[in-house]
């Protein structure tokens, strides 16, 4: 079931970024080229704010807590490693063979976003960065290498 996603993961990791929409891809590629790690780029995306500029919103924007990236990674791990709550979305995604990385990133973002109280387009680049950081490895091998710090509501769905 996960063979198609494995084929994407075993390919060049940079392609996860390369297939994002241009407005997301360009700054991420620039920061990666500057030598930042995938995690550092993700943090830049989350904390970006024009220097020496006081924002004139009328309220404090919702979302974006310090632990946000950690929480996102936990949800991504739960999604990829077979948590029951994502079963329907996983089955849907893995049944869509031949779809590109942009589709995979978007589908995962849509599945995870409600658990993080964010809009899917906001986290799509973070999903792409996280998938790129996994490196060339199969899902099962990657899930097996993860610390068991996520309580999966069900295993064996892989």
């Amino acid at each position: 079931m996960a063979a198609y996603l494995d084929s994407l993961l075993l390919d060049e990791p940079a392609k996860w970024i390369a297939e994002l929409p241009e407005y997301q891809r360009e700054p991420l590629e620039k920061l990666l080229k500057d030598g930042l790690s995938h995690d550092q780029v993700a943090q830049q995306w989350l904390s970006a704010s024009a220097e020496n500029t006081y924002r004139f919103a009328a309220t404090n924007p919702a979302g974006k807590k310090d632990a946000f990236l950690d929480n996102l990674k936990k949800e991504l791990r739960a999604f990829l490693c077979g948590d029951r709550k994502y079963r329907k979305e996983r089955d849907g995604l893995f049944g869509e063979k031949g779809q590109g990385r942009a589709f995979v990133v978007s589908a995962i973002a849509v599945a995870i976003a409600p658990y993080l109280n964010v809009a899917a387009p906001v986290i799509a680049p973070l999903i792409a960065l996280s998938l790129a950081s996994i490196g060339k490895i199969t899902i099962n091998a990657w899930c097996g290498s993860q610390k068991d710090d996520v309580e999966l509501s069900s295993r064996g769905d892989r």
Partner: protein, 218 residues
């Protein structure tokens, strides 16, 4: 000079619905694609739950806006695209509304260019008055955000909370050149607050990000 008479159908307030009603968050404007609107990403935030556009019934900007009338129309929106590096967001509403907006950018606004902005100053106090401000480009600057440099326009005018997301047009032809995002404040401000006002923001150095970055977002 460009006739901005139709701007009442272009610029809207952004709000978020909650148990106490709608809390205003900033300004937004209609784009040249059906149902698409732009604002600052820090106005939209990261969660689009309860996010709405707010409008009053106005036929033109010369009409007296009744500040005691709290009746507004709201349209639910979702975040279609968000670019925190350039502080821009595109919102999508399930309505066919669109404009013939001409999208330009900071490159089209040399120093001295006459500009007109439309937004909702003092929205943090619940005031929803669509307000025009005319000014000129004081400088063009590059401002770094998250390690990415972006073109900005310095507007020689004071702005207030609620104006983030306001469109900045060239007064002569109505071309969109920027989106208001805030004002200069050392360190981003927030260190001192007197009656809810940061004294560092009480000046006429307002920042608008170049509208050109919107092009790739919708």
């Amino acid at each position: 000079m460009f006739d901005f008479g139709g701007v009442v159908n272009v610029v809207f307030a952004v709000g978020r619905t909650g148990p106490a009603g709608v809390q205003l968050a900033g300004s937004a404007f209609s784009l040249n694609k059906a149902g698409c609107f732009a604002t600052a990403s820090h106005v939209a935030g990261t969660d689009d739950a309860g996010l709405v556009l707010c409008a009053r019934k106005l036929t033109n900007l010369n009409e007296y806006q009744d500040t005691s009338d709290s009746t507004i129309q709201v349209f639910p929106v979702r975040i279609l695209a968000s670019d925190p590096f350039h502080d821009l967001a595109v919102l999508k509403a399930e309505i066919p509304h669109q404009t013939s907006l001409a999208l330009a950018g900071a490159d089209d606004a040399p120093v001295g260019t006459q500009l007109s902005s439309f937004g909702f100053p003092h929205a943090d106090h619940g005031r929803m008055v669509l307000t025009r401000q005319d000014t000129e480009v004081g400088a063009r600057v590059l401002i770094t955000s998250g390690g990415i440099k972006a073109k900005h326009i310095v507007l020689n005018i004071q702005a207030r909370p609620g104006q983030s997301g306001s469109p900045i047009f060239r007064s002569v032809d109505g071309k969109l050149v920027g989106v208001l995002v805030g004002s200069y404040a050392p360190g981003g401000g927030g260190g001192i607050s007197l009656g809810g006002i940061d004294p560092h923001t009480l000046h006429q150095t307002t920042h608008a990000v170049s509208a050109e970055y919107l092009r790739k977002m919708y």
